[in-house]
Symmetry: C2
């Protein structure tokens, strides 16, 4: 194993000089720096992270916490992998690496985060699946670990957040439904207390109210995520009487199961019911095509990365963004699933 000592011996230099050369410190001759870098390359020297972390207190890694397990394979991989990719392009500019921290469904997310943070695995964190009241936020703030949340929260510790514009989704979807004559509108929400659920719910209810309609409790559907959840939603819709003529989905991953469930009952999306979803990429080719709102997930990742760097002392000069609190611009993709028009 080649450490800095071996490298220094090989160069007839002290380890101090070698370290300075490798870390782009000022007081080292430009020629020796070149020599050092070349030798490091030849000998395949890579600084031991433990030694470096111990001394500097930094690990060079940023954690992105997500939850695994059956009830969480939410948005499909594609959602997260694309976001990750965006985060990484930002972090790589500064020799930081993104590592994904998986909290299994059987473990308490708060405990898990605690462990990871106290262990000093990462210099900063991005957390997702943000709850309306989320203890993780207070904890991270108390530890003064730089962090950003994907999804806002009512727990406010002055953190930066990025969020999908569920307010706009709810409002615009309902406006579109109303314009086409719908009066019996439903919304499909997640089961747990994730913040996006309440935002979407509030937006749908408010926009309906502005149009003289009320969102009933019966039309506020809750389900697991994913295909199975979509199938549940179909069942709930069929049980309603009168059946809603339009529904907005908190997530596209519901669509496949919803389609199937409806079709099993002879209900064709776009003909017998209008559906508007939210893009998470995997259902672009459904038939009939899904009308949906979407956003650039890669840009979301980039924004997350930059917001995080902005909150890290070492980088805040480079990213003078201050506190980032931003909802992403939504794009609208018109498909066939909301073609149904209600005559008055």
């Amino acid at each position: 194993m080649v450490g800095i000592k071996r490298l220094a011996d090989h160069l007839n230099l002290s380890i101090g000089t070698v370290s300075r050369a490798l870390n782009d410190r000022p007081d080292v001759n430009e020629d020796t720096r070149k020599r050092v870098l070349q030798a490091a390359g030849e000998l395949n020297y890579v600084a031991n992270q433990s030694g470096r972390s111990l001394r500097s207190g930094l690990t060079g890694a940023i954690g992105f916490m997500v939850q695994t397990g059956p009830q969480f394979n939410v948005q499909g991989d594609n959602f997260f992998t694309t976001v990750f990719d965006g985060v990484q392009t930002v972090l790589n500019r500064h020799h930081l690496d993104l590592i994904v921290l998986l909290c299994s469904a059987s473990e308490d997310p708060d405990q898990y985060l605690r462990r990871m943070v106290l262990r000093r695995f990462v210099d900063g964190m991005i957390i997702s699946h943000t709850l309306r009241e989320d203890p993780r936020i207070a904890f991270l703030a108390s530890r003064r670990l730089p962090f950003v949340t994907l999804g806002r929260s009512q727990t406010d510790a002055g953190q930066s957040w990025l969020d999908i514009d569920f307010e706009a989704i709810g409002r615009r979807a309902v406006e579109r439904f109303v314009q086409r004559g719908h009066r019996n509108i439903a919304v499909a929400l997640p089961l747990d207390d994730i913040n996006l659920g309440s935002v979407l719910h509030a937006a749908v209810a408010a926009t309906m109210a502005q149009n003289g309609l009320t969102l009933s409790a019966a039309n506020t559907l809750r389900s697991h995520p994913g295909e199975i959840g979509g199938h549940e939603v179909a069942g709930q819709l069929m049980a309603l009487s009168p059946r809603p003529t339009a529904i907005v989905l908190s997530d596209d991953s519901l669509a496949v199961g919803l389609y199937r469930g409806l079709m099993e009952n002879g209900i064709l999306p776009g003909r017998d019911i209008s559906i508007i979803g939210r893009d998470s990429l995997p259902v672009r080719f459904l038939s009939p095509t899904l009308t949906r709102f979407g956003q650039s997930l890669r840009n979301l990742g980039i924004d997350l990365g930059e917001a995080l760097l902005a909150s890290m002392p070492a980088y805040e000069r480079l990213y003078p963004l201050g506190k980032v609190r931003k909802v992403l611009d939504m794009q609208f993709f018109e498909g066939e699933s909301d073609a149904l028009t209600i005559a008055n």
Copy 2:
């Protein structure tokens, strides 16, 4: 920040004793051990990982390398998240944590792996997307880092591997097709040199040969993964004349796009063409339902975790499995997509 020193002062003990107490070493009084554990709990002491790693050479983390980026959001998240969950349940038994290492599409996987390993982030690795000739295998072996691959490879360094039984999938799918009268059979494979592609290809070709058929180059389709890839496959199928009457897919994520592409051309799966896929969970509710092979992804994760532990010196006694080389049992799920029967 409370370190072992503060903890020791608080207990009027030396740091040596405290460390031994925390690590279940023999020579420490049982009463003092209790005192130490309790105080550690009260003061929220968690050992600094850098210090511990520096001394012991171990990090307590296992890496699972996956590739991100548009061309890799392969099997849908659900594939990996479920596997991860299985791995984690095994690792957690021994206070090991799984961290996911994301190689972005813009970075060379070999370089990335190199960096992560030399940095000493992890005590062991699981790598996926195994190529037919994979330099990562030789590298990991040369560094003597315990590792397991998901997917076998022709590069053999004596490593353990787990794999999905693509041989069985190819064979059984073709046998089923042949039994139903199909003679013009196609296969959809990934673009790159991933090992599963060649295994599936070989199995399909061999089984066809056994039945007096030949798999032509034209019927060996290659596409990107995911929905978009499925749409590509549909286009390729439509361009063939005579059009194949049956196709086996290397991955289910192709199905949605394939369905759409075929339907756009008036071809209905199950009526005009037979399709057999491979389960990666996200398309259970497609319509018509997809006939497919599947396996327990969670068990796959558990097997991976145990195989890895078996190759780590510290755990090989507990998991005396030796070299694991195992293909998983496949289950068959009959759907509607392969209902087409060809009269002779």
